[in-house]
Every structure is written in structure tokens, then in C-alpha cells.
């Protein structure tokens, strides 16, 4: 269906007399408002889900791009030797940008949240940690483990990227699923509005016959229906969006612990998408009703 913008704008112009020619249709009016309300409410959640999944994927992705950790728990006297050997191996391994042994102070800082600042770290048999920074392509973990086993047998490679990657993929798919849900919601909204508009047009066949008898153009007849359904959908979607936002706000805050479910919120530019839900719903209703009106008027000609 071609969308003539001038004709579309004319259809949305307020014309009290044109609006009055179609009698009030209580049932289809309520049905349209309710379905738009429900769809907008669901769209807010699908949007929040998608945006939250996107944030999780991004956060985990950023962490992936940081470091892996090598832990050397060597017997007393061999720690320094094996650390130096491990560093030599790491610095000659393709895919590794940098490898650096953490200082005593840095290791103390890592333990402070659990044991306090006064911990006598020098007296504890702590493993030596080596921070590894990868290239974007990463390194061959299996090959590195083999080389480390030969050069520094006490080294244990903590390759956290390997378990986070599936989570990132899951989060990315969840984001796609969220957008797909929004698309389905829009399609279902269009289908429901089309059904309601078809019912209203069929119920008003006599009105259409009278209007044609007195010389009404199809645009005039369609306008009364299109404006009505677009406005109903806009109203329902505005309320649905508002209630959806309130429901999101009522989800308990995540506090200090990061969690996916407690992060189901709209942030930053995400609000632009939320604000667009009612006008997009109205636009979908406008297009669906215009399509239905043209088809029915063609059939009744």
C-alpha cells in the first residue's frame, strides 16, 4: 500500500462533522483501546528486557576484553622462578598484549574487602597472580596451558572468558528476542485494529451507502474511521505505556548486587523508545485502518 503523505495528513485533520457521520461504536471502541493498552504494556516490558539484555551483553563484553588471570601456587622457593618462567611464556604467546605480575600491594587491595586493611599478607602462603591482557582476537588457551605445564607447572590459567562467552551470546539472543517480541506486538496490534476496523466498517455499510449517495469521496468516508481508530489506539497505548513504566519502577532495585532481573529498567536513550510507543501504536492503527477502509470501500463500491 502506497502511503500518500498529503492524503494521510488530511485524514488526521480534525473535522468534527466528518467524525460525527459515523455513529459511536462502543464495543469496537473499547476493544481497540484495551488491545492497544495491553500491547503497549507488553511492549514496555519487551523493550526493557531487550535493553537490559543489551546492557548485560555490553558489560560482560567489556569485561571479556580485559584480562585473564594466571595463578601460580608454587612450593616455597620456586615461586619467583616459576613466575618469571610463566611471564616469559606469556610475553611470547600470540594474542597476549601484556602480562604483568601483581605487586604485594595490589594483591592486598584485592583481599581487603574480605579480610580488612591490616592483613599481614607477607606471612600468608598466597599464590602469585599475573594479570593478562589479550588482543581482540584472543589467544590459544589450550596451547598456552601446554606450554605453561612445561615451563611453570604450578601455573593455573583462569580463562574466565570461556565461561562468559556463552552468557554474552545468551544475552545477545535475549536482546534479539526482545526486539522480535516488539515486532510481533506491533503486528498483532495491526491485526487487531484491522479486525476491529473491518467490523466497524461492515456494521456501518448503510452509513457508507448514505455518504456515497450524497457525494462523499472515499477519503472523506475513510477519514472518519481512520481518525477514530488512530486516536483510540494512541489513547490506549499511552495508558498502557504509563502503566508499564509504573510497573517497571515498582520492580525492587538491585542495590549493590548486580543482577539481570533487578536490572530490568529503562535508562538513558531507552526512554526515547518508550516515548515512541504510543505514537507508533497510533501510526500502526492509522495504516491498518486505512488499509482496511480502502479494501472495504472497494468491496462496497
Amino acid at each position: 500500500m502506497s502511503l500518500d503523505l498529503r492524503a494521510a495528513a488530511k485524514m488526521l485533520q480534525f473535522d468534527e462533522k466528518a467524525d460525527r457521520v459515523v455513529p459511536p461504536t462502543g464495543f469496537t471502541a473499547r476493544l481497540t483501546v484495551f488491545s492497544s493498552f495491553a500491547m503497549a504494556f507488553l511492549a514496555v516490558f519487551a523493550l526493557a528486557l531487550s535493553l537490559a539484555a543489551g546492557r548485560v551483553a555490553e558489560r560482560w563484553g567489556d569485561e571479556l576484553a580485559q584480562s585473564s588471570t594466571l595463578r601460580i601456587s608454587a612450593p616455597a622457593g620456586e615461586g619467583v622462578t616459576q613466575t618469571e618462567a610463566a611471564l616469559r611464556v606469556l610475553r611470547t604467546t600470540p594474542g597476549i598484549v601484556d602480562a604483568r605480575a601483581l605487586t604485594i600491594d595490589e594483591q592486598r587491595a584485592l583481599l581487603t574487602p574480605w579480610f580488612g586493611a591490616d592483613i599481614p599478607i607477607e606471612d600468608l602462603p598466597l599464590p602469585q597472580l599475573i594479570d593478562i591482557t589479550e588482543t581482540d582476537e584472543g589467544y590459544d588457551a589450550a596451547g598456552l596451558r601446554l606450554r605453561l605445564a612445561a615451563e611453570a607447572p604450578a601455573a593455573v590459567l583462569d580463562d574466565h572468558a570461556r565461561w562468559r562467552r556463552p552468557l554474552i551470546e545468551a544475552a545477545s539472543r535475549l536482546r534479539i528476542l526482545g526486539w522480535a517480541s516488539i515486532l510481533l506486538i506491533a503486528t498483532a496490534s495491526a491485526a487487531m485494529v484491522t479486525l476491529a476496523a473491518n467490523a466497524a466498517l461492515a456494521a456501518n455499510a448503510q452509513v457508507i451507502a448514505v455518504l456515497r449517495l450524497v457525494g462523499a469521496k472515499d477519503t472523506y468516508i475513510a477519514r472518519a474511521f481512520v481518525r477514530r481508530f488512530a486516536l483510540r489506539s494512541l489513547t490506549g497505548a499511552a495508558f498502557g505505556t504509563l502503566v508499564g513504566i509504573v510497573a517497571l519502577v515498582l520492580i525492587p532495585s538491585r542495590g549493590d548486587s548486580a543482577g539481570f532481573l533487578t536490572d530490568l529498567s529503562i535508562q538513558g536513550w531507552g526512554w526515547v523508545w518508550v516515548i515512541l510507543i504510543p505514537p507508533l501504536s497510533g501510526l500502526v492503527a492509522f495504516i491498518a485502518t486505512r488499509f482496511a477502509a480502502r479494501r472495504v470501500l472497494e468491496e462496497l463500491a
Partner: protein, 243 residues
Amino acid sequence: MLRHNNAGNRGRDKTAVIELENVAYSYGGGELLTDMTLSVAPGSFHFLTGPSGSGKTTFLKLCYGALQATAGHVRLFERDVRGLGRDDVAILRRKIGVVHQDCQFLDHLPVTENIALPLSVSGQDTSGAGAEANLKELLAWVGLTARGDALPPELSGGERQRAALARAVIMSPDVILADEPTGNIDWEMSQRLLTLLVELNRMGKTILVATHDLGLIRAAKAQVPTRVLRISNRRLQMAGADL
């Protein structure tokens, strides 16, 4: 071929408001009307008679573009209906006022708004002082001044016919088509309606009335020159002069 105007027969009239040339109309595999040729001159008064089911309503619908002929050509104001889009037909229809036997209205709107409907759909002002004065004058002309705020279902048969006539003429159309306008009303009311149609004809409007009512035709003939057409055996004929 029938050529009709008040001045008598002529050749093909270039100013004919309605012109049918070898028109046929078929529906559901059967031919309802066949080989109809007619030229209606401006300002003429025609009656169309024929038995029930002969196709009078179909004929009128062809004359205002509600139906498309399956053969031949229908020209309204010298424009062939076949080549026109629906919007063009809608604009042409504003020059033709139609009154049906079962006058259809928008039942949720008062009589005044129903009568003003042709103005509304053509984008003309209906709320200005001039428009309201014209509307009042029109209501008075059809004797419905006191019924302007009533809803159509509250009107009697005669009142509905007069309201339909008011709606048909509010755009000051060149042609008035009436389909059995006196079918549901008593003799007195039908005479009143005829008086209104005769007045319109004297104002220069072209009138075409489909009716069974021979009394109505005789009463009209006594007041204005009229021609009587008859649909018989799917064809258009001149009716006998004894009418």
C-alpha cells in the same frame, strides 16, 4: 432511440445532462436491462414507469453512477462514467440529487444535519449564518421547520420523503432523481411532494421520477410538460399518450 426535452425531439443533444447509449446491465448471469438509449435534456421532467422488478431502480442507479453499465455508455454531464474513478463519480453525484423510496439517513444525526450532509461531505460551510439561514429556508420549503431537531427514526413516511428531497436539493443540483418517492405516503402527501418537484422543475432543474403511481403522473402532466418512459421486456419505451 429516445431523445427527450421540453422542446421536443432533436438530434443528439450535446448539452444532455444524462445520456445513455445502447446501455445494458447484467447481474448474476442474466440481463436486466438491454439496449437502452436515452438523452435527457436540461430542465426536462420525465417519469419512468414499469412493472415491479422491471429494473426502474437499476436504471436510476445507472443514471447517477451507482452502477456501471455492462455494455454501452452512460454519460453524465457529457462525461462517460466508465472512465471515471470513484472520486470523480462522487463529485459528479453532487450535481445529482437522489430521493429513494426507503430514504436512508444517518439515524444518529438530527434531521438538519442529515439534510446538510451533502454540504459537509463537499467541504462547504454548514455552520455560518448564511448556511443556517438557507437550511431554515429549505426546512420551511419542505414543511419540516418544527422537525429539524428530530432524529430520522422519529419521522413519519411523508416527513422522511420530504427530508430526503431537502437533502437532495440542498446542493442546488442540476438533476433530481426520485425512486418511487410516493410509495410509502398517502395521496395528500404525495401531492405535496409533487408540488415541490414541479417547483424545482420550474426553477430549471431536470427531474426524473420512477413511479407506479399513474395519478401522480396525471397530476404532474396537468402542471408541467412531462415525458413518460416505460421499461418493458428489459427495454426502454415511450409510454402511451393516454397517461
